[in-house]
């Protein structure tokens, strides 16, 4: 194990390449379906994806539109001119013998995004992002003398987003990965389903004791924020250990073993591959008009950083805000942020609703697998009113919210419903005073303790009042009346 002090003596440098699957209906260059999740192998393959003689790629304009949205999501604008190139290598899951990608003139140039780690905001540069087609999937069954190729995925449109080497810790790498994920989801350019590999991270890590960068390794195909974080931690310690033992870091591609939580060597990159890039003569360059770009820019959804600013007036803590931002994509149909935004001119109410969302609604949704049928704005408006009138305790509010979120429809009068269900607390002073008098009479010892200054007995007595009222008494009012009757 590397001790913390030794680790501190090294500068860690991290750059991340992320492949995002664009959510088009069809592939990047053919009219075949793009969703291979539940398809039998090799059923989503056209003559184009198969690399048949005479087959020509035809660019899917929807992929271009999504890439333009991604440009805005990455804090920049798309390039007015970009083109496709061929990247050549032989492999059975690459039918044409080349991958169509963008080499020197990608659709997205320099951009940036902000991350916050330990309360500090950092800007991470985006070097570029380019469109390319995915390859097929090869599997090598253990103990067999053959391999299997599934071309369903071949030709799926990807956007590869390359960061600057601006990250210096596993926490920053994780934060960047999450921020990228949120932006792609908010921009609605990708399903970004990590489980299905819609977003895959290749993480480049190097360590150095000097101002010069160390030799880097690239851990490929990470599909969770946690594996990004853990692989960086593992790789940093591994590299330091090698260097401390007098060894050298080999520039190589590494894989991540999630079960063992460690990286492993896949192939050496010492001999740089020569991909013989060449402009693809089958695909005319992409030339975007100002009009087209402006139109997409104007229709861009609000990005996470803008939401953070909008919500900042509510005084939520960072964890609450981020929970809401995550929930916005986790339960994208619920429109949590839009709900809050509509309430922003009533700050107190909005803040209260934000708390309910974070503490009640979102946890409820995690266990609830059906669509919500009621209107939250009506529900939360009624709840807030009942609480404001002192008729609902926070405990009962939670029960009521949970119950009504699962309802087919909201009752005509939520106050009446709550009363019928026994959730309304008694705030009639005379009625509670009668209960208090009875409780003081039944508990003379405790009453005496209060008189003698033992204030914690008030809690006990209040509890007794609540019990006697079957939970309906307003506890604040009850404790006031206890004090009042004992001092009078």
């Amino acid at each position: 194990m590397i001790n913390a002090e030794l680790r501190k003596s090294y500068t860690v440098t991290i750059g991340i390449e992320c492949h995002v699957q664009l959510k088009t209906a069809t592939k990047l260059f053919s009219a075949v379906g793009n969703d291979a999740r539940d398809a039998e192998p090799n059923t989503l393959v056209s003559h184009i994806d198969f690399g048949m003689p005479g087959a020509l790629p035809v660019l899917n304009s929807e992929a271009v539109r999504l890439a333009v949205k991604a440009a805005f999501a990455l804090g920049t604008e798309p390039e007015r001119f970009s083109k496709f190139d061929r990247k050549h290598y032989f492999y059975p899951d690459l039918p044409k013998g080349y991958q169509i990608s963008q080499f020197d003139e990608p659709i997205i140039g320099k951009g940036s995004l902000e991350i916050v780690v330990d309360g500090e905001t950092k800007v991470i540069g985006i070097t570029r992002a380019h469109m390319e087609e995915d390859a097929g999937k090869s599997t090598h069954p253990a103990g067999k003398d053959y391999s299997l190729v599934d071309l369903n995925r071949a030709g799926t449109p990807l956007l590869e987003i390359v960061s600057e080497p601006d990250m210096h810790s596993s926490a920053e790498a994780k934060a960047y990965a999450r921020e990228l994920y949120l932006r792609m989801r908010y921009a609605d350019v990708s399903e970004a389903n990590l489980y299905y590999g819609n977003m895959r991270f290749d993480v480049n890590v190097s360590v150095s004791k000097t101002s010069e960068l160390g030799t880097r390794t690239e851990t490929k195909n990470l599909n969770s924020f946690r594996s990004v974080e853990k692989s960086v931690e593992y790789e940093v310690d591994r590299q330091i250990e090698v260097l401390e033992k007098g060894g050298v870091i080999v520039q190589e591609t590494r894989g991540w073993d999630d079960a063992k939580q460690r990286t492993f060597s896949q192939r050496s990159k010492e001999n740089a591959d020569d991909y013989r890039y060449m402009p693809d003569p089958d695909i005319p360059p992409i030339v975007l008009s100002e009009e087209y770009i402006a139109e997409i820019g104007a229709a861009m959804p609000v990005m996470p950083d803008a939401w953070r600013k909008r919500l900042s007036s509510l005084g939520l803590d960072r964890a609450q805000t981020e929970t809401l931002l995550d929930a916005q994509v986790e339960f994208s149909k619920e429109g949590y942020l839009q709900l809050l935004e509509a309430m922003l001119d009533n700050q107190a109410f909005a803040k209260q609703v934000a708390n309910w969302l974070v503490n009640i609604d979102i946890p409820f949704m995690r266990d609830y697998d059906q669509p919500i049928k009621v209107q939250r704005v009506v529900l939360y408006g009624a709840i807030a009113e009942l609480i404001g009138d002192g008729k609902l305790s926070s405990t009962n509010a939670k029960a009521l919210i949970t119950e009504l979120l699962a309802a087919e429809s909201l009752p005509d009068d939520i106050a009446v419903y709550a009363a019928d269900k026994g959730y309304i607390q008694e705030s009639d002073e005379a009625a509670i005073a009668a209960i208090v008098a009875r409780v003081l009479k039944d508990n003379p010892q405790a009453a005496n303790d209060v008189k003698n200054g033992e204030l914690k007995a008030i809690g006990f007595l209040t509890g007794q009042v609540m019990k006697a009222s079957q939970g309906k008494a307003n506890p604040g009012l009850a404790s006031q009346l206890i004090k009042k009757q004992l001092t009078d």
Binding site: L59, R276, M278, P281, I283
Partner: protein
């Protein structure tokens, strides 16, 4: 040679009127193909499918249904067109036995108008060559002298037309592959503007210069075939819109002024060929057409640029022939790398390998700028020079080939000499302009071709001029 085939229009009209049948026409073509087998123009016939299609069309006619404007017209496709009814081999061993799962768009369009493909024509394997001697199967013989080549790479198509096997044939032209065999065989060979005809379903050679076009006995027939095939296509992103007037009903006077390309009439051109071209130009002058000399200085580098860009694209386009999914696969191989290596080295012929090697070299890191980028610079300059030339004249003239058909085997050992034959045709491909080769008499007892080029998308004007000129030269 008097043709057994009337004009395409006349044939289709006869079928439509019921005075002749599609079946009769298909049989006539199949008999001619069998009779002229010794010329090795045809790799395979599609007879079963052709006969079925003919029966369908004849039934439609007898049922009084509308049939297309090419109803019953038999044709022959170069064997790099994906066609149903016979294998598609591109005359290469690596595609031997390959049965196309879909048809090329050009074929589909012709079939939609009632044309019937009866056979697949020989070519230099993958269209790499100028004589059909690079075919992995056989060498086609020139219809005028069977000891001579028909030109290439669409040599089988040009020979088929001049052997009277069918009213028209399809070819592809990447650096002159329609025009050169047209010149050597005495046919009309038309290379349209780049992108005017969909390349979808045609085995790619060099994607940025590949075009599809007809080989015929007359300009009118060529225009008719083009008219059916031309236009934007959803399966080829490089296609362009057709001209609104279309390409038929061509009528027009000779232009007032044409340009003769100075570099095309210089040294290295067979004087006998040059003599025929001068005579053709004089015929224009006699009709009061002003003839000016136009110099395009970058033409001197065009061939060199072509033989960098073309192999670069070839090396890339041939990557898919890897023995893994279709075509020839060496089953002796024990590892993946061995399978790639052996399948490709036994499947590709010498010329394909040569072009893959050159192309791989010029695209390699460290050489890319020196070769590929420089060649693209030449191409850009050439485009600018042609654009400028077309500011002052609508048409540029010159010979199609520097010589007439040469003896089989004469150049086979010298690839450079073979490449030089394309010297007058590659420019039109690099620039993307339309060009036609018209028969212009003979020299050395062999046909001579006159080449005319026009600006991009001026195909109708070019065909109109060519038709008028054809009458003048007759």
């Amino acid at each position: 040679m008097q043709s057994q085939w009337p004009s395409i229009c006349a044939i289709a009209s006869a079928v439509q009127a019921g005075t002749t049948s599609a079946s009769e026409l298909v049989e006539r073509a199949l008999i001619a193909i069998a009779k002229k087998d010794e010329y090795k123009a045809i790799i395979a016939t599609t007879e079963t499918r052709a006969r079925q299609r003919a029966l369908t069309i004849d039934k439609q006619v007898s049922d009084g249904l509308a049939v297309g404007r090419l109803a019953g017209v038999p044709f022959i496709a170069k064997d790099n067109f994906l066609v149903f009814g016979a294998d598609t081999t591109a005359a290469s061993n690596i595609l031997r036995g390959f049965s196309a799962p879909y048809q090329s768009v050009a074929i589909e369009k012709l079939e939609a108008e009632g044309a019937i493909c009866v056979a697949k024509a020989n070519l230099d394997a993958f269209a790499h060559g100028s004589s059909t001697e690079n075919s992995d199967f056989m060498t086609t013989k020139n219809p005028h002298d069977s000891t001579r080549v028909p030109g290439g790479s669409s040599g089988g198509s040009a020979a088929a037309v001049m052997l009277d096997l069918a009213p028209f044939a399809l070819g592809t032209d990447t650096g002159g592959s329609i025009r050169l065999p047209a010149s050597y065989c005495g046919a009309v060979g038309y290379k349209p503007t780049y992108g005017l005809v969909s390349r979808s379903g045609v085995v790619a050679m060099a994607s940025s210069t590949d075009v599809i076009g007809p080989l015929t006995r007359s300009v009118e027939d060529a225009a008719m075939v083009l008219d059916v095939m031309a236009g934007k296509d959803a399966l080829d992103g490089t296609t362009i819109e057709r001209e609104s007037a279309g390409y038929t009903n061509l009528a027009g006077a000779l232009p007032s002024k044409v340009g003769v390309i100075k570099e095309y009439m210089a040294e290295g051109i067979d004087p006998a060929v040059k003599g025929q071209i001068v005579a053709a130009i004089d015929a224009l002058k006699a009709r009061s057409v002003e003839v000016v000399e136009i110099s395009l200085p970058s033409l001197s580098a065009a061939l060199a640029a072509y033989y960098i860009l073309c192999p670069a694209e070839v090396s890339s386009n041939l990557s898919r022939y890897d023995g893994q999914r279709f075509g020839h696969s060496d089953l002796e191989a024990r590892t993946l790398d061995e399978s790639y290596g052996r399948s490709r080295s036994t499947g590709f012929g010498r010329e394909a390998k040569r072009r893959i090697m050159i192309g791989t070299y010029v695209l390699s890191s460290g050489y890319y700028d020196a070769y590929y980028v420089k060649a693209q610079t030449v191409r850009t300059k050439l485009i600018a020079e042609f654009n400028e030339a077309f500011q002052s004249v609508d048409f540029l003239l010159g010979p199609t080939a520097p010589n007439t058909a040469f003896k089989i085997g004469e150049n086979i050992k010298d690839p450079l000499q073979m490449y030089l034959i394309d010297i007058l045709t590659v420019a039109a491909n690099l620039v993307g302009v339309p060009a036609i080769s018209l028969p212009a008499g003979s020299a050395n007892d062999m046909p001579v071709g006159l080449q005319i080029m026009a600006a991009q998308k001026n195909d109708r004007a070019l065909l109109t001029f060519a038709k008028a000129y054809e009458e003048l030269l007759a």
